[in-house]
């Protein structure tokens, strides 16, 4: 006998884990595209980050889908995503993108690190590991090395649209939800991609600084590289802010429902997070830090700007994913979230969140410990 009634008190269906997933895929796509700057577009001044970029892109995209799996009510049935396929469902495409993209990253990493790995595979206590990493083929002739370079470039070219797709689709699945005012606009994928570039660059700055300063052989961070990356960060922040400006103002001219969503962002319940944390602390201040001529050459300023804009982009993911659920097409969901933090992630989300980040750090440590991530001056790419 059924005496149990479903109680409709689940307030935020897509919580912190989904925001975290969006954040991680964004970081991954951003890192990948940053690496492609030198591999594909020949921007030599960013050559030294291309190895780190591929390490980050791979690891971030391996841990990102774990958020989705942890978020499922029936965690053990996630594999049905791969057995069922619905051609008009963006999520169904997403689950295949989420496999293709890390595979491509691994393949690119294979060719990028092959030369160093092959050298290390000859002797040493870890030689067996490197032999496995080069698939037991250690030929290092002129031809193979030139070939590896070509493969890296080809894979990076294929990877660019794939990186756009794998992160753009996260914005897409929000954009197709017609019932949510804030989400249902075709601009969503672009908005997510632009902030992905910001966060990818910001993370790269922090990682490059920390790794070079404390873990490299020279124990010294390349400040011109950091400042160059800071300039990139400036450009991305500018484009991102301009886009948000266009989005907000044009929606303000648009029909009433669309206008509502702007009103909610600027004056509504998420306004504190949107205006203060996302825009002022997370975009405008970092933008000034990397723009004002007197301080933009200062490594400390660039680092601070990176940390702030990373926080800003995470806030953006939270504002849009969680905040978007406060407002439906028929107006603000009354009565809900009147108290200050608006949304407190339940423990069932906080624990996987922490575990996923811990796993990410662990994998990163493992990767930089085994793989020759350091860029050696003078040696051509692929080294």
């Amino acid at each position: 006998m059924v005496v149990e009634l479903f109680n409709v008190n689940w307030k935020v269906a897509w919580g912190m884990l989904i925001a975290n997933y969006f954040f991680l895929t964004g970081l991954s796509a951003g890192s990948f595209l940053l690496g492609a700057l030198s591999e594909v577009f020949g921007q030599e001044k960013y050559r030294s980050v291309s190895k780190m970029a591929i390490i980050l892109a791979t690891i971030l995209l391996i841990i990102a889908p774990l958020n989705l799996i942890a978020e499922l009510g029936q965690t053990g049935r996630f594999w049905t995503l791969l057995t069922g396929f619905h051609p008009t469902s963006p999520m169904a495409w997403g689950s295949f993108l989420l496999i293709a993209y890390p595979l491509l990253c691994v393949a690119e990493g294979y060719f990028l690190f092959r030369r160093d790995n092959a050298k290390r595979a000859v002797s040493g206590s870890m030689a067996f590991l490197y032999r496995a990493l080069v698939l037991w083929r250690t030929d290092l002739t002129e031809a193979t090395i030139a070939f590896d370079k070509k493969m890296v470039k080809t894979l990076a070219i294929i990877g660019i649209p794939l990186a756009f797709a794998v992160h753009g689709y996260t914005g897409y699945i929000l954009g197709v939800v017609v019932a949510r005012n804030l989400w249902s606009t075709p601009q969503m994928p672009v908005l997510f991609l632009l902030s992905a570039m910001v966060s990818g660059t910001a993370l790269m700055i922090l990682i490059v600084y920390i790794m070079q300063k404390f873990f490299s052989s020279k124990k010294y961070a390349d400040s011109t590289l950091i400042v160059n990356l800071g300039t990139l960060l400036m450009v991305f922040l500018l484009v991102d802010m301009l886009y948000i400006f266009f989005e907000l103002t044009m929606r303000w001219y648009s029909y009433e429902l669309s206008k509502d969503s702007v009103r909610e962002l600027l004056f509504g319940k998420v306004s504190f997070y949107f205006v203060w944390i996302e825009m002022i602390l997370g975009a405008i201040i970092p933008f000034l830090l990397v723009t004002i001529p007197k301080i933009r050459k200062n490594v400390g300023a660039v680092l601070l700007a990176s940390a702030l804009s990373l926080m800003g982009v995470f806030a953006m993911r939270m504002d849009f994913v969680v905040g978007g659920q406060f407002y439906s097409r028929n107006g603000v969901i009354d009565n809900l979230y009147t108290s200050f933090p608006l949304y407190l992630p339940p423990l069932t989300e906080v624990m996987p969140f922490a575990a996923i980040w811990a796993l990410g750090f662990f994998m990163f440590a493992l990767a930089v410990w085994t793989l020759p991530w350091e860029y050696k001056e003078g040696a051509a790419g692929g080294d």
Binding site: M1, V3, L5, N7, L82, T83, L103, L135, R137
Partner: protein, 149 residues
């Protein structure tokens, strides 16, 4: 072709073939028969025994006619009999089988009526601590016509 590329492509091939192979094993046979779902699930659902008779059947001649008309006039008319009384199809097809008694606990009424911010403010809600002196709700309210105290 470079030998190490051959290795990599071979590995990729193994992964892809393995994926396709495993997928072909685990995808249910009837998948895609009618659409992007398992076709058999249609039959499985059709073969479930009917447990609910529907409020209409309670109000038949010779049955709970009076109670039904009272209920149909009340503000609980949107709450079906079997929501509180449980599935009663067996009782309807054979009156000798009595359905188990309705859940009359405070918690049960509270599922819908306890105060909760997520509910529209126009929905009748009470504070479980202070309302009704901890007596069962039916002590004061008629569940079939709630305002008929």
């Amino acid at each position: 072709m470079q030998p190490h590329l051959k290795r990599a492509i071979f590995l990729l091939g193994v992964v892809i073939v393995g994926f396709i192979f495993i997928r072909s094993l685990v995808v249910p046979d009837s998948y895609g028969q009618y659409g992007a779902y398992r076709g058999d699930s249609v039959y499985e659902n059709r073969n479930f025994t009917v447990e609910y008779a529907g409020s209409q059947s309670c109000g038949d001649e010779n049955c709970h006619k009076t109670l039904y008309s009272i209920w149909a006039d009340s503000r609980h008319k949107t709450v079906n009999c079997e929501t509180c009384h449980g599935p009663s199809e067996k009782h309807v097809s054979n009156v000798r089988i009595m359905p188990s008694p309705a859940n009359d606990s405070r918690e049960f009424c509270g599922k819908c009526h306890y105060k909760m911010v997520a509910r529209p403010s126009s929905f009748p809600q009470i504070d479980p601590e202070s309302h009704g002196e901890n007596l069962k709700c039916a002590y004061c309210h008629n569940p079939h016509k709630p305002w008929f105290v």
